[in-house]
Symmetry: C2
Subunit: 470 residues, 2 copies
């Protein structure tokens, strides 16, 4: 087979670009830093959205939509927040053919505008918790854009909630972290994320706690796959989100926010892709089984067997693709199917069919098995289940083998050249963190020794994960 | 019952604003002309989206996502297009803390950027048709904004397709018009739209044919609910969308575009709402049946009967709401349920329950029927089906009774004071159209005498619908 992609070992970033182009996932937009998500990429995003949306609704949040445009002064109300975002803003100065009296910012996140409306909608403890989520585009100007990972415009969901107490806000932010995000990433994306707490230095602007989910990519770098924040009463104070308690006192609410984005698509590609292209986890795959006609026969038996199989798979609840473009050489179509990462393809050709067989090709283990037509549906069903797990196991094994336990910052920096380092936080501290940062290595998160997520970075015996990251 | 809303007959625009505020559907955003879609409104939009999205996919189109930001020069390539949009543009002049070398436009529609990428992706007749759709926000600066109907930012779907021949493009634009839009509006929204062709004056900038779906609102004004356009080869020529034909010739493609937006939410409110609030068609209602506890009893029988009924309704595939806020007076909750327009509510209280009954309240016919608990699910199921139809029939009867057949422009202008006018297009013409426009009356569309949609406005015996419109 001719070389279609740059091998990962040769140049991982180049391989990443190649996969995105050849699998037709995305393209650069005409304005620098923007992105076109092509149908093959968008179909994966739609499935992510749909599964995540169900989980968010199960967590009690309601979807809403807030405006793209935010008055510039809103961002100034929370001091840290504006510092965090001002270099990344896109500013509208003209509208309807005229210069605007006050410049308008294109939302980099909706914290501030949602804060404003929470203040309007909340008056009593009976209005709490207020649990909102929105699916939207946001803009953060990027100087070094990279498709899906770092684009000036990206798509995301942002949850924003207000609670009567710090304990409620904490419980909710952690519920989203584990029950929505972690479970989704493990179960659906097959990515064995490490879940922990960000250091003060890495915390979201205006938050009191930032929790993160970190995935290890194919080049052993880390990718932040999602975050959940407790904002304390910072935003409530900046935006006057006040409620009267059951005892009749005026209290500031406690707020949270949490988000995941199209960046997860980049994570999916970099975690599971191989030198032949994308490998999509079966549960998230828009096409789980791709029926391909190898070559048509004069009698039409191949086409009718393939169509029958497609219908049988569909009836079994499997998402099916169908390729009958027999005027395109089969080899080229097979390469394309590898690139696009369909978990299973079923090749239907005259020679195998004469023996009552089709060939079941599993993208993840890379097996090709002649299978009696009558057994095809059950073989595919079993393959999809097994290969979802196999992908997870493979990613977990890589993460484990490429994570080194070390005891100093210097060792951690060294280990981060080829993987992740796990090091006692006490041996790092803010000084060690600065030293690592100077070498391009960051503290991805802090966990407890048992892997659970700490309530504060001052807890004893915390473990820090250090790595290079996207 | 205290008066909650301004009656429609007194002040229809005020009634509309009242419904939106009291039913908690939307709010004005902080930047003039923008809108916050609140959870109760967004939930209806989500159901519209989901049903429409299935229809669009059944029509063969694939979803994709194109950037929010468009280089200003793109809009200049198609002369009529830029003229149509330039007074409505929002312009970004600063990004990442710097003035931009070239100003960027926030998309008012994605025609131009999608045209650019179609040109990249299409090379042979084998690549056609290319059928794309996107769900996105767009910005058109509004001087006189009105929630849902005319906002500076709105949400929509925009389809863009490229075809090998004019006949294919025509067939596709008309397929979307009838099989996707018309069917959705009649079947799901219960709005008996008139479907026709726009005059040259009302046509989309750059189109060769614009088809429209017009709904009659509660005040007899017209609302354009959606449009589908044939763009001829205009955009293909402006953006070099060229393919090599089976015969090896280089040909320009024929393109279409089509869109519907959050404006449909405004149409739903104004078509079906009454003086007590919203009335949501059962098929599109996020909550179809709302179980309400009138008053709890010490033994807890009411609560457990209500919960049982909720589960039984859910098991029957009905979307159920549940109101057990017994610390809020029942009267206030009932008013709220009327405002929000749940098609059916089921009141569960100790007195009725003692006789084995609950009260089934149907929002659309306005009936209240004590119903044996055992019959409640079947009563609700039957009510939902009947009331979907009743809403449609009511809207159709209104449209028919308020549409006058007249024979001159002057009569049409007069008739438009209280309804729609149907008049021979030959009696109007471009001159009559200008005269009507001067009086605030527009030609909503042209149809054939049998109601079908003409291929050209030069066909003989066309009928023009004239009306005041939103």
């Amino acid at each position: 087979m001719a070389r279609v992609l740059t091998p990962r070992s040769e140049d991982f970033p180049r391989w990443y670009q190649d996969v995105i182009a050849k699998a037709e996932l995305a393209d650069n937009g005409p304005v620098r830093g923007t992105m076109v998500i092509r149908p093959a990429g968008y179909a994966i995003w739609e499935r992510m959205q749909s599964d995540m949306d169900n989980r968010i609704k199960a967590a009690g949040a309601q979807n809403a939509y807030f405006p793209l445009f935010i008055p510039e002064n809103y961002l100034r109300r929370e001091a840290e927040h504006v510092e965090g975002f001002s270099p990344e803003l896109a500013v509208v100065t003209h509208g309807g053919g005229k210069q605007l009296a006050e410049p308008i910012v294109v939302r980099p996140t909706s914290e501030t505008v949602i804060g404003e409306f929470m203040a309007k909608w909340i008056s009593s403890y009976r209005d709490l918790p207020l649990l909102l989520n929105q699916w939207a585009n946001v803009v953060r100007w990027e100087l070094r854009p990279r498709l899906f990972l770092r684009t000036s415009e990206f798509l995301w969901q942002e949850g924003h909630t207000a609670h009567a107490s710090e304990a409620d806000a904490h419980a909710y932010a952690r519920g989203i972290l584990h029950d929505v995000y972690e479970d989704f990433m493990r179960q659906m994306l097959a990515i064995p994320v490490v879940v922990g707490r960000k250091t003060v230095r890495e915390r979201f602007a205006g938050a009191t706690s930032t929790y993160t989910l970190e995935g290890m990519m194919g080049d052993a770098k880390a990718l932040q796959m999602g975050t959940s924040h407790e904002l304390g009463q910072n935003f409530a104070k900046a935006f006057d989100i006040v409620y009267s308690s059951a005892e009749g006192r005026q209290e500031h609410a406690w707020t949270t926010s949490w988000g995941t984005s199209t960046r997860m698509l980049g994570g999916l590609i970099m975690c599971h892709g191989d030198d032949n292209g994308l490998r999509v986890p079966p549960r998230i795959a828009p096409i789980q089984a791709h029926v391909m006609i190898v070559k048509a026969d004069p009698a039409g038996d191949v086409v009718s067997a393939a169509a029958k199989l497609r219908d049988a798979l569909r009836d079994a609840g499997i998402r099916v693709g169908f390729d009958d473009r027999v005027d395109t050489p089969f080899g080229r179509r097979a390469v394309d199917a590898e690139l696009k990462g369909y978990p299973v393809r079923i090749e239907v050709g005259p020679r195998d069919l004469a023996e009552g067989n089709v060939v079941v090709v599993r993208r993840i283990p890379g097996t090709k098995t002649p299978t009696p037509v009558a057994d095809a549906v059950s073989a595919v069903t079993a393959a999809l289940e097994a290969d979802q797990q196999a992908l997870y196991d493979e990613a977990l094994a890589r993460r484990q083998s490429l994570t080194a336990d070390v005891s100093s910052v210097d060792e951690a920096i060294e280990a981060a050249a080829t993987g992740w380092a796990r090091v006692p936080w006490a041996a790092v501290g803010t000084e060690g963190e600065a030293k690592a940062n100077a070498e391009g290595v960051t503290v991805r998160c802090l966990t407890r020794a048992d892997g659970s997520v700490p309530r504060s970075e001052d807890e004893p015996d915390l473990v820090a994960y250090l790595a290079r990251a996207y």
